[in-house]
């Protein structure tokens, strides 16, 4: 039985959305798993009381008296608050009492606590947040999504391997392609770091690298050299593009509402919005740590938590962390390519 710890105190509407999502997960998702709700027990129990039909045998509550706020400095907060839901939840995994962690809390704190408590696989220079971008077809994995603002060329190469293993294990994509996000397709485009990363990626074994891609290729889902599955960039660019994409979706829906309000009633248009809905993908996995840690948007609705639990279960079932360890063990070549 897979044990998924869920930070009940992390999101903007905690614990409502978290617990509603967990209840949906327990009801709707396949797989043998239980959920460990981490946070202030009374608050959790009060919220759970709204769901008398939930299967209590698949729920545990783990007390965590403290909460790390969104504005707190990550590393300092992790050190100062050992009883926070983030540190307690990841502590369970470190102690072998849990298999995965899901949180919509302070991203920097989840990153710091995951790195400290779970540790990084040998050969991984930095853990990365991998975010799925909805497209008309297969989603595209963009990493880094904002955890690492400045990245070296070698770190970008590492992200390519991490994304490739994730795509294989969790998205059942046997041979995902990798593109390096740049300002043009030509070899000499970009800055010193992207030029170096491009040269390293070309020579990296076991990767299906298709070259530099441009902003327009991310959600186009294709590129003159084929489909792009994994997009590698530093966390500054990744974060800006991710947040921009969310806002463009809202802009579009807002304009449709304003110009053709009756359209919103149409099922096909709801399908369109569903296709472009982030919450379908749940959370962004933190890749490179020894274990499973999934970061959700602070504003995640219940549906996103349900899907984050699904991603956590799939990651454990697929032995994602072990495969990442094996990839980097095999591949001194990766870092030295």
């Amino acid at each position: 039985v897979i044990r998924v710890a869920v930070d009940a105190m992390g999101g903007d509407t905690a614990p409502q959305a978290e617990i509603a999502g967990v209840v949906q997960a327990l009801t709707a998702l396949p797989g043998r798993f239980i959920v460990q709700l981490v946070g202030r027990s009374e608050v959790i129990k009060a919220e759970l009381a709204k769901y008398p039909d939930v299967d209590q045998s698949r729920l545990e509550i783990h007390e965590a008296a403290e909460v790390i706020g969104m504005a707190e400095k990550p590393l300092a907060a992790v050190r100062k608050k050992p009883k926070s839901s983030i540190v307690v939840g990841l502590g369970l995994q470190k102690a072998g009492q849990s298999d995965a962690f899901v949180s919509a809390g302070n991203t920097g704190a989840i990153l710091a606590a995951s790195t400290i408590l779970l540790g990084l696989h040998d050969g991984v220079e930095r853990a990365t947040v991998a975010t799925l971008f909805p497209t008309g077809n297969q989603p595209v994995l963009v990493l880094d999504g904002g955890a690492n603002v400045d990245c070296s060329a070698r770190e970008l190469v590492g992200f390519a391997y991490l994304g490739t293993v994730y795509m294989r294990d969790v998205l059942q994509h046997p041979s995902p392609t990798v593109g390096l996000l740049n300002v043009g397709e030509e070899e000499e485009k970009g800055n010193a770091i992207t030029r170096e990363a491009h040269n390293l990626l070309k020579r990296s074994p076991r990767l299906h690298y298709i070259g530099n891609i441009e902003g327009r290729d991310i959600v186009a889902g294709h590129h003159k050299y084929g489909v792009v599955d994994v997009v590698v960039c530093d966390g500054f660019v990744g974060n800006v593009v991710l947040k921009f994409y969310e806002s463009v979706g809202r802009l579009f829906v807002g304009l449709v509402k304003q110009l053709v309000p009756d359209l919103l009633q149409r099922a096909e248009l709801r399908e369109l919005f569903r296709i472009l809905d982030y919450s379908e993908y749940g959370g962004a996995p933190l890749l490179g740590v020894k274990g499973v840690s999934i970061i959700c948007h602070g504003a995640s609705p219940a549906n996103a938590f349900k899907n984050a639990v699904r991603v956590a279960v799939q990651s454990v079932e697929a032995d994602l962390s072990k495969h990442i360890g094996a990839e980097f063990a095999e591949g001194e070549t990766a870092a030295e390519a």
Copy 2:
């Protein structure tokens, strides 16, 4: 009478779209201006023959036997091809025989030739390509749009001044606000350059700086501190976001076509696509040079050239270049803030 030189050989479908756009401009736009078509005379004449009704007294043809290709190295191409449409067109302006230049050719070559032939205003460290992003309301000016991949903090501050003057002169916005594109709103967010730029911008006189903004604030048109009119970022991020935005529009239209094909017949939806249509804005001005130089997308349709001519005429009428010179002359403070 304002003289606008248009590179007839620059775009992907040259000279068709260029000349169709110029004809539209001469017919539809207000203002006293003539157009100087620059390129291979016979090719231009053959294309013009399709428009027997056009007012020939408002058209000049300037022979330029060479064309700089999209893949050529900008600086080398500008030096090797003195008879190219880009060098000839900007040469007219340098010689006082033209007031503005419009081209959909090799962006790097337009940037290099504009900088060399027109020169930069004192105090401007680098010229920048300013791109307008459509939103539901006022468009937002994003700069740099891709000309300068790596930027120093001082250069970013310079972009803030350039964008502010452009918004005032050409978009009739008396007091545009400026945001620095970053990964979070807090002071300490970002990389070393954005942190330094934020500190410089806070202390820069005559700017309406509202602070760090995030990817989601660009087209939202607002931000917790108010409306954002000018977004400052390096050309790597600007280029990625610009191209990404174009592709998201296409993705959305493609999904609508696929899911609800009959919708595309509806006038309101065409209005929506018009709102989000780049070609409404014409071209991206190159700001900081002593003169007027407008860069169009290689794939610009006729409508974009018409609007680029409009932007060129407005820039000349508003004395944009003079005002930029005055802003930077006044503001040693800007660079040293």
